[in-house]
C-alpha cells in the first residue's frame, strides 16, 4: 500500500486506473475537472485511452462503445452533465454494459452553483434515465473511501454488467486527505460477453427488443438483480449505535461531519449515533427499519439538499413510531458540525 496526500478527484482518477480502467471520456465541468485533467496525463502512461468528448452525451456513448469491447471504462461529471449522460446510462443498462460514472455534485437546479451540494440524490437514486432501471450508487465520505469505492465500483459493474455510480460532491472532490492506494490490477478481458476479438460466433450488443415478451423478461431479470442488491450489497456505517437514543442519518460529506458531531454529543453525555448509508442504491432500509422505537427516541436526517431527498427514503424505511427530523443546507453551503450538534440538542428538548 502506498500512502499519499491526495485531492479527492485525483484520487478517484488514480484509483480507477489502478482498478484497470483503460478508457476515459469526459467533458469539462466544475467541480470535477481534476478527473479528466488527471486522466489526460496518466491514462496514456497506463496504456489506456483518454478522449475529451464534444459533449457529456458523446463522452457517455464513447464509454458505451469502449465497454462493449470489454474495456473497463469511466466517465465523470457534475449533476447537470450527469443529466445529459442519463440517456447513455439507460442504453448501457439496457445493453447490460458495465461502466463507472462519477458525479461530483454541485448546487442546483439549473446552472446552480459550483460549490458542493447533495441536490442530485433523487436524480441518481431513482433510476437515472428513461425506461425504469437502477444503478448501484456508492456515496463515499472520505477520500480513502472514494478510492476504495471507485475500485469496487468497477468490480460490481462487471459482476452485474450494469453501470455503477460513484456520488461525491465538490467538497470531497476538491479536498485533500491521506489515502492508501491499492496495487494496480491488470484488467480482465470479459471475453464471455464482450465484442473483444476472439474466435467465436457473431455477437450483438443492444437494448432493443422486437418482442414485448423479451423486454418483459429482461425487466424481470433486472428486478431480480436489484432484489439481490438489497439482500447482499447494502453497505452502511453504524457508529455508536448500540445504545443510541438520537440517531443521525447522513451520507457522503455530511456523513463524516455528522460523525464528528456524534463524538461531540457523546462528550456532552448525549447518546447519539450515526447511521451512514455507504450504498444509496441499495438503500439500507433494513438497518433503518430495525431501529427499535423503545430505544431510539428520534432520528435526524442531515443532507445538503433542500427539500430533503434522502429524508423521504429514511421516513419510508423507519418505524412510524420514531419521529424523524430534518437538517438541510444547500446551494453550496457545507453543513457544520456545530449545526448538527445544536439540532440534536434542540430535538432532544
Amino acid at each position: 500500500m502506498e500512502k499519499r496526500f491526495m485531492k479527492g478527484n485525483e484520487a478517484i482518477a488514480e484509483s480507477a486506473i489502478r482498478a484497470g480502467c483503460r478508457f476515459f471520456a469526459g467533458y469539462p465541468i466544475t467541480p470535477q475537472n481534476e478527473i479528466p485533467e488527471y486522466m489526460s496525463r496518466k491514462m496514456t502512461e497506463a496504456g489506456g485511452v483518454f478522449v475529451q468528448g464534444e459533449s457529456e452525451i458523446a463522452s457517455a456513448y464513447m464509454v458505451f462503445g469502449g465497454a462493449s469491447m470489454g474495456t473497463r471504462c469511466m466517465t465523470s461529471s457534475s449533476g447537470l452533465g450527469i443529466c445529459l449522460k442519463t440517456e447513455a446510462l439507460s442504453y448501457m443498462a439496457g445493453a447490460r454494459l458495465p461502466a463507472v460514472v462519477v458525479n461530483v455534485s454541485r448546487g442546483g437546479p439549473g446552472l446552480g452553483t459550483i460549490q458542493p451540494s447533495q441536490q442530485d440524490y433523487n436524480l441518481i437514486t431513482n433510476g437515472p434515465g428513461c425506461g425504469g432501471f437502477s444503478c448501484m450508487v456508492y456515496a463515499p465520505s472520505t477520500v480513502q473511501e472514494s478510492v476504495d469505492l471507485t475500485c469496487k465500483a468497477f468490480d460490481m459493474a462487471e459482476r452485474d454488467r450494469n453501470p455503477v455510480i460513484v456520488l461525491t460532491d465538490g467538497c470531497l472532490g476538491a479536498m485533500m486527505e491521506s489515502v492508501e492506494l491499492p496495487m494496480p490490477q491488470t484488467p480482465g478481458e470479459n471475453l464471455e460477453w464482450s465484442l473483444a476479438k476472439s474466435d467465436r460466433q457473431a455477437r450483438i450488443i443492444k437494448s432493443f427488443h422486437l418482442d414485448p415478451m423479451d423486454q418483459e423478461q429482461f425487466n424481470e431479470n433486472m428486478a431480480d438483480l436489484y432484489k439481490s442488491w438489497d439482500d447482499n450489497d447494502v453497505a452502511v456505517e453504524l457508529y455508536q449505535m448500540q445504545d443510541a437514543e438520537y440517531v443521525i442519518t447522513a451520507y457522503g460529506i455530511c456523513g463524516r461531519i455528522a460523525k464528528a458531531a456524534v463524538e461531540e454529543l457523546r462528550l456532552g453525555g448525549v447518546k447519539a449515533g450515526l447511521l451512514r448509508p455507504i450504498t444509496l442504491v441499495p438503500f439500507p432500509r433494513k438497518q433503518l427499519a430495525e431501529l427499535n422505537p423503545q430505544k431510539v427516541k428520534k432520528v435526524l436526517s442531515v443532507e445538503m439538499s433542500i427539500p430533503g431527498q434522502m429524508f423521504i427514503d429514511v421516513r419510508e424505511a423507519l418505524s412510524a413510531e420514531i419521529p424523524l427530523e430534518f437538517l438541510g443546507r444547500s446551494g453550496g453551503v457545507v453543513v457544520e458540525e456545530e449545526e448538527i450538534v445544536s439540532a440534536v440538542y434542540k430535538m432532544k428538548g
Binding site: A25, M62, M69, T71, L195
Partner: protein, 244 residues
Amino acid sequence: MSRPTSIKDCASGYCPGCLHGVAHRIIAEIVDELGISQDMVGVMPVGCASLSFSYWNFDSIHGAHGRAPAVATGVKRCAPDRVVFTYQGDGDLAAIGLAEIMHAANRGENFTAVFINNSIYGMTGGQMAPTTLEGMKTSTSPKGRDETTEGYPMNMCGILAQLDAPYYIARFALNSPQNVLKAKAGLKKAFMAQLEGKGFCFIELLTNCPTNWGLTSLKSLEWMEQNTMPAFPLGAFKDGGVRV
C-alpha cells in the same frame, strides 16, 4: 448471384423497393472480399436500420439515435484491431447526431461512416429531415419544406469536407446498377483506408423511401434522379485527405 456470408439467410423487414437492402449487400460483399468478417464491428442507428441487428453475420452494436460516431470512437479506441463502421440515416446523422459526426470526423477517428440519405425520417412515418429537399412534402412539412423557416437541405459531404482531418469523403447514389458498382468501389476504398490506418472516411449513399415518398419502387428511383441527385451532386469531396 449468391448471398454474401456476412449477411444472414433471413428475410429483411425493409419495405419492398427500399435501398437499405442494397446498401447492406454491398457492405457485406466488401467484408467478404476483404476477408474481415471476424474483425468487423458495425455500429447501427436508430431508424429503419435498427432492424439490421438480426441481419449481419458479424459483431454489431445498436446504440442510440445520433450517437453511433461516439460509440464507434469508444470501440475503435479500445479495440484498434477491429474494423468499425457506423451506419446512420439522415435524421440520425444530420439532425440529432450532428455534433457526434462532426467531432468524430474532426478527430480523424479511424472508422468508416456510412450515411444513408433518403431525405426523410422513415421508421417514424415520413417526417421532415435535415436533408429534405426544398418544397418536398413530408408529414411534418405538409405544404412542402419552406426554406425561409425550415432552412435548406444539408449537404453533409460538403460540410464535413471543410474539416482538415477526414481522409476520404464521397457521395454515391444507389439508384442504378452502375451507380451501385461505383458506390461499392467507394465504400471498399474507405474500408481499405481504415485497414491502412488512414483515418476518418465518410460515404454518403443517396437512397429512396418508396413508402414515405408515396411512390412505387421504380418511380422512387426516377424521383431520385430528377430531384435528389441534382440537389446532392455525386462524387468525392475529399480524397487522400485533400479537398476535391
